[in-house]
């Protein structure tokens, strides 16, 4: 098992700064995900680790060993490519054996390890198949077996599931996670799909414009986004900006229209603007006369639209000044309300996350 230390790494392509001074420590056996929209530098960073992109500055080490000056074929990383990159001129066994032959492993040993790797990815008995006879999911498994069979120090996955259909994607990500756990291999996973990142990772780094926005466990990233960008990228639609109206040592109160939001644990002068977010599913619809849970705050908003999504019902609301607010209700009957009704909603103020001035 290997830890990875990335220190002050930068890379520019012409005038575009693809990666800017990124520093990261990835622990032994950790499943670490680089998450961000296209063009955020996540793939470039991964390719720097594999050796396919040069560093303008900084260093990358596996354990105590600095590797950024090693040519890519000496780095002993196993990479799974977005399009699988299965060699079309070799059969399944030939593809999986490729890296072992390069390492001059003797033939009997190769056969044994290829078989084992194929068993690991549930492709027993497929060794003589040709790539063009395989489905997308099977090609994916061959790519994973080929990367794992060389017993790499680090497993690198570059959007490996983006070419699969939705159901297979969910299935494969579970398998990849399980495989990684059982082998305990340090893994870096690149994706733009936040749900995938949340489901699979030990930790996530959200990237934007070549820089790190936030690093943390999936639940931290989800519940306590560090910036409005992270909040929006993680699917939080209620990004509100208001004015601080009260301020004391314990926190502030922010007003948006007539609604007041108590935000604890931050300091800001009265009269200054403040941006914060509130997850739609943190809002609870109160029936008329229903008591407010202890310590919770309430607000009133006019209903604009109801969207029934099966398990979830989504409400689109307007605060008194017209600011849009969304609420998501899980498995709750919403009969008896109609458009233009003014609804009372309650939330736990600890679910409010404040950002610096926008």
């Amino acid at each position: 098992m290997t830890s990875i230390a990335i220190e002050g790494v930068s890379r520019a392509f012409g005038s575009v700064r693809a990666v800017r001074e990124v520093s990261l420590l990835i622990g032994e056996g950790e499943f670490f995900t680089l998450l961000g929209p296209s063009g955020c530098g996540k793939t470039t960073l991964l390719r720097m680790i594999a050796g396919f992109a040069e560093l303008d500055a900084g260093s990358i080490s596996f354990g105590a060993r600095r590797i950024d000056r090693l040519p890519p074929h000496r780095r002993n990383t196993g990479m799974v490519f977005q399009n699988y990159a299965i060699f079309p001129n070799l059969d399944v066994a030939g593809n999986v054996a490729y890296g072992l032959k390069a390492r001059r492993v003797e033939a009997g040993e190769i056969a044994r390890r290829v078989e084992e790797a194929l068993r690991l990815v549930h492709l027993e008995g497929m060794d003589a198949r040709w790539p063009h006879q395989l489905s997308g999911g099977q090609l994916q498994r061959v790519a994973i077996a080929r990367a794992l069979v060389i017993e790499p120090e680090v497993l690198l996955l570059d959007e490996p599931l983006s070419n699969l259909d939705a159901q297979l994607r969910v299935e494969m990500r579970g398998e990849i996670r399980q495989l990684q756990q059982s082998l305990g291999i340090t893994t870096i996973y690149v994706t733009h799909d936040q749900e995938e990142a949340l489901a699979i990772s030990d930790r996530i780094a959200v990237m934007r414009g070549g820089s790190l926005e936030q690093i943390g466990r999936p639940d931290e990233i989800y519940r306590r986004p560090a910036t409005p960008f992270v909040a929006e990228f993680m699917g939080i639609t209620n990004l509100l900006t208001g004015t601080v109206v009260e301020s004391d040592g314990a926190g502030v109160v922010v007003r948006v229209g007539e609604a007041e939001f108590p935000l604890g644990g931050i300091a800001a002068a009265a009269g200054t603007p403040l941006t914060f977010c509130l997850r739609p599913e943190a809002l609870r619809l109160l029936a008329p006369g229903e008591p407010v849970p202890d310590g919770w705050a309430t607000l009133a908003a006019k209903l604009a639209r109801v969207e029934f999504l099966g398990a979830l019902t989504r409400l689109e609301l307007r605060l008194s000044d017209g600011t849009a607010l969304r609420a998501a209700l899980l498995d709750r009957p919403v009969q008896g309300i109609g458009e233009s009704d003014v609804l009372r909603l309650a939330y736990d103020p600890r679910r409010l996350v404040a950002f610096g001035a926008p």
Partner: protein, 551 residues
Amino acid sequence: MRSRLPRDPFPQVVTAAGFAFLGLFFIYPLYGVLSASFLDPSGTHATLGNYAKVFASTFYRASFVNSLTIGLLATLVTVALAVPIAFALARLPMPGKAALLALASLPLVLPSFVGAYALVLMLGRAGFITKALQALGVPFTSIYGMPGIVLVYALTLYPYVLLPTLAGLKAIDVSLEEASQNLGASRWRAFWTVTFPLVVPALLSGALLVFIETLENFGVPFVLAEDKPILAVEAYKLFVGETDTNPASAGVLGVVLVAAAVLVLLVQRRYLARRRFSTAARAAPPLIAVARGWRLLAAGWSWGVVLLALVPFFAVVAISFLQFRGPVLYAQPSLDNFHDLFGRSTQPLVNTLLLSTLAALFAALIGVPIGYVLVRRRSALTAVLDAVATTPFAVAGTVLAIGLVVSFNAGWLVLTGGWLIMVIAYVVRKLPFSVRSASALLHQFDPSLEEASVNLGVSPAATFARLVVPMMLGGIVGGMVLTWVTVASELSSTVVLYSAPWQTLTVVMFQALEGEGPGVAAAAASVLILFTLLPLALIYRLVRRYEMSLL
């Protein structure tokens, strides 16, 4: 501070070797021709006198005008022949499209001067068709001169326009025409406002290649021009000279010829090649349902042109098995011509096989790594290498050969009189095909395949040998066979470079044309056609994709 990866030496080595080879055997010889054209008769002082002398001569001015006129006419006729075929193949219902396309590619590799010679046998002064016509009272004398040359060019070069135009038509996504019609354009209007403009760059690009080919071709005008002066032929005559040689004037004609062709090539590259709209179509446009009359017309035109282009080659093979007495042909089957051809010596046959094989091998050995570096390791330097390596296409074989003789007949490296100089000329001339086809093949493989190999621990050079070459092997072999067949019938540099022990079949045919009689020439032509068709038939599948990629 940049922490560079240790430089992977593979692209540097290939680029350096490519520049060394082309610098020594392409640029330096051309420089030799250029400097010869500027030297006074004593060979010591620079002068413009040679140019003044050549341009003062009405004869050489005429050669310039003739070459350009023939090129222009041939290009126009070629476009007129090929574009309807391309459209019919792409969009109209027609029987036997696959066969038609296969036959339509053949003229690219069949030796054009053999076609010219066949035309003489049929329509020359003593040609059997000429005689038949005269017997019927038609006042036809012969095909010699401009009409014959333009006809041969049009019938042998039309695939240069047909193939890219067809590819262009097929690459247009059906939704574009549908969008145009959805917006209110009639089908006719949609074609002229959307479809046609999209294929024009591909069409013009092919047309310019035709023009270049006509400029540099030596064999066709040599057979058909008679006393009409043509640049490529006059350069040869001045250099080889029956009375005395005149490298300075030959140099002037050579420089003019190369300058014109390279100029056109640059136009083609800069303005057209890049404007090809080659987005891969998700759905090719559907066939257009047309009335029966149109269908018949399309099939008749397409099959008519394609078969007509092959008639001369069939004719020459048939004629080679008939008896000649002097120049007169008798309708009597006989193997005499082949006896005459091989009776004296089979050495020319052996030489042809040997030299073609060597040239095909070296063209692949040099061209494939260059093609690889050009696609996968782009840099400012490789862009220059790309330009240099693909330019020999536009340089007349006679001029290159003259340059090689001028440069390597004395001094530290003497090559004249041997086989090596011939192989070098062939390799330089065929390098553009080799490089282009290797690049085209590589574009079909995602670079991540090589990255996957490197990631698994195989060094870049070993990845090239163990993964890239095996993946490309079909295409490389196809390319080598095409090089082989085109070298086997190469004439223009061979006639300048050959020495007595290294005569090839084309030389034998060339000499027979000049003196010994048509029987031997027909037999040699027949053998050359056999050498072209047989290997192609054997590897037909491999070659088809390659031919499309040449353009």
